[in-house]
């Protein structure tokens, strides 16, 4: 079970109050976790990654265990602490005013 912490507006879109959990078959990577997240919450498709290029939207970042994973390959394994559910993958909105 993978835990994912979403920013406020995406929690509202997904109609959840807190962290969400997803199951990943196979290797736990940024890409596979986001695939599972979008499969469980299709309303989030396009809000974290571009619908076509699959690239991270520019004002969002990914963190886990205090590490910035925003620029990691989507195929790189996530830390064991995320894979085991000890800590969440954090999707964070950049502080850009507004």
């Amino acid at each position: 079970m993978i835990r994912v912490a979403l920013p406020y507006h995406l929690r509202n879109l997904a109609k959840v109050d807190d962290e969400v959990t997803v199951d990943v078959n196979g290797q736990v990577t940024l890409g596979s976790v986001l695939d599972a997240l979008e499969a469980k919450y299709p309303m989030l498709r396009g809000t974290i990654r571009d619908q076509v290029t699959r690239k991270r939207r520019p004002f969002l970042r990914f963190f886990a265990g205090g590490e910035d994973l925003s620029h990691e390959s989507p195929d790189a394994p996530l830390p064991d602490t995320v894979a085991t559910g000890a800590e969440p993958l954090v999707v964070l909105g950049a502080i850009a005013g507004g």
Partner: protein
């Protein structure tokens, strides 16, 4: 007694204002989609409970929302409230926020470039939906004008969107460039007398028309003069801010251009200026009285460098003769220390016997007049900056 429902899109959410036919006392509902930019909301003309809304964010992109109960509840099309979000096979349901330019060899056009502000080529990139125009005959069919400029259509209630690529690909696309607000398709007008005729307008490309349901398009900008572009009479490149049409006379169009208020009596084939005695002919909104096709409304803005009303006075200007001669409507509007703007989709008219006029400002006020503009009163004063105003008459 009939009532009205005013749909207000703002920088930080949507608001729904309702009243009876007197339009004196109002109920205010919202914010819906709090914190998001709501560029536009509009109801189906044949099913007033069917509403579409464009919800967007610089962080999270574009969302399409739909209501089937007049705005009481909303959902992203394809996933009804309480329904599973996946199919029995485990696949995600339709993606109502997926706007992908059609570049297929069969139906699309090569995804070429448009011009960036400095004239360099730039690839088309989807940013947001500026305007949603529901079909005049089918509640499940709706058009979306988007940035970077293109026209999309859904025929399944907003679940799936397909581009009408003949517009972007008709030939002048590589010469289009963004206006200050982006390269946006902001105006979509469906001809009630001819289901195959559609008018659109793009900043800063100009106005375009199809006569075959969206397959082929042509620019309709003859007569426009824009001294801020290299060729002031070019076929495309004009910063058209908004276009309005009275449904009883679909061949007559009124345009608020960047500068100049214009009129066409031949469905856009040619235009002539009708700015007349306006104090300034820069502005964004333009609309036509519901029962008087020659009565037109604009809100003059000081200049393209100073986007607020002139002289600190909020004045709607009305022409009862189709242009050229304009009168200032000020009764009930602030006439000192007012420096708001009224954006291009932020005016609407209702069709009650005594025609109602509505507009919203960047200062968060929504004003209403229940007597064709003679007198005005604010419905609300302190919303976030208003991006769009639409009105529905309810049975």
């Amino acid at each position: 007694m009939s009532g009205v429902r005013v749909l207000v899109g703002t920088r930080k959410g949507a608001f729904i204002l309702t009243s009876d036919g007197k339009r004196e006392k109002w109920d205010v509902s919202g914010p819906h989609f709090a914190g998001w930019e709501l560029y536009h909301l509009k109801g189906s003309p044949i099913d007033p409970n069917r509403l579409y809304a464009s919800q967007s964010s610089g962080w999270f992109g574009q969302i399409i929302q739909r209501s089937d109960d007049g705005g009481k509840t909303w959902h992203q099309p394809g996933t009804l409230p309480g329904e599973p979000t996946t199919t029995p096979e485990g696949f995600p349901k339709a993606e109502s926020n997926k706007f992908v330019y059609d570049s297929s060899t069969e139906t699309g056009k090569p995804l070429t470039t448009h011009q960036w502000y400095d004239g360099t080529p730039r690839p088309w990139e989807f940013k947001r939906v500026w305007h949603l125009e529901p079909s005049l005959t089918d509640p499940d069919t709706v058009y979306a004008g988007v940035e970077d400029a293109a026209l999309f259509r859904s025929t399944d209630g907003g679940k799936n969107w397909q581009e009408l690529p003949g517009l972007r690909g008709h030939g002048t696309g590589p010469n289009w460039q963004p206006g200050a607000g982006g390269m946006c398709l902001h105006t979509v007008i469906l001809d009630p007398s001819d289901p195959k005729r559609i008018f659109v307008a793009i900043s800063a490309a100009g106005a375009f028309r199809t006569d075959d349901g969206g397959e082929t398009w042509k620019p309709i900008n003859k007569g426009l003069f824009s001294q801020y572009i290299p060729d002031p009479t070019a076929e495309v490149g004009h910063c058209v801010h908004h276009v309005a049409m009275h449904p009883s006379r679909p061949g007559v169009l009124f345009m608020q251009k960047h500068w100049d208020v214009m009129r066409s009596d031949d469905a856009g084939d040619s235009w002539r200026e009708i700015s007349g005695n306006l104090p300034t002919d820069f502005g964004f909104v333009i609309d036509v009285h519901a029962h008087e096709p020659e009565t037109v409304y604009v809100v003059p803005i000081k200049s393209d460098s100073e986007h607020y009303v002139a002289d600190g006075k909020l004045r709607v200007y009305r022409s009862r003769g189709g242009g050229n001669e304009w009168e200032a409507l000020t009764n009930g509007l602030p006439q000192s220390n007012c420096y708001v703007n009224v954006l291009r989709d932020a005016m609407a008219v209702d069709s009650l016997d005594s025609c109602g006029i509505y507009f919203g400002t960047t200062g968060g006020q929504v004003y209403a007049s229940a007597d064709s503009g003679d007198t005005w009163a604010p419905i609300v004063r302190d919303l976030p900056a208003v991006l769009s105003v639409e009105v529905q008459v309810l049975p």
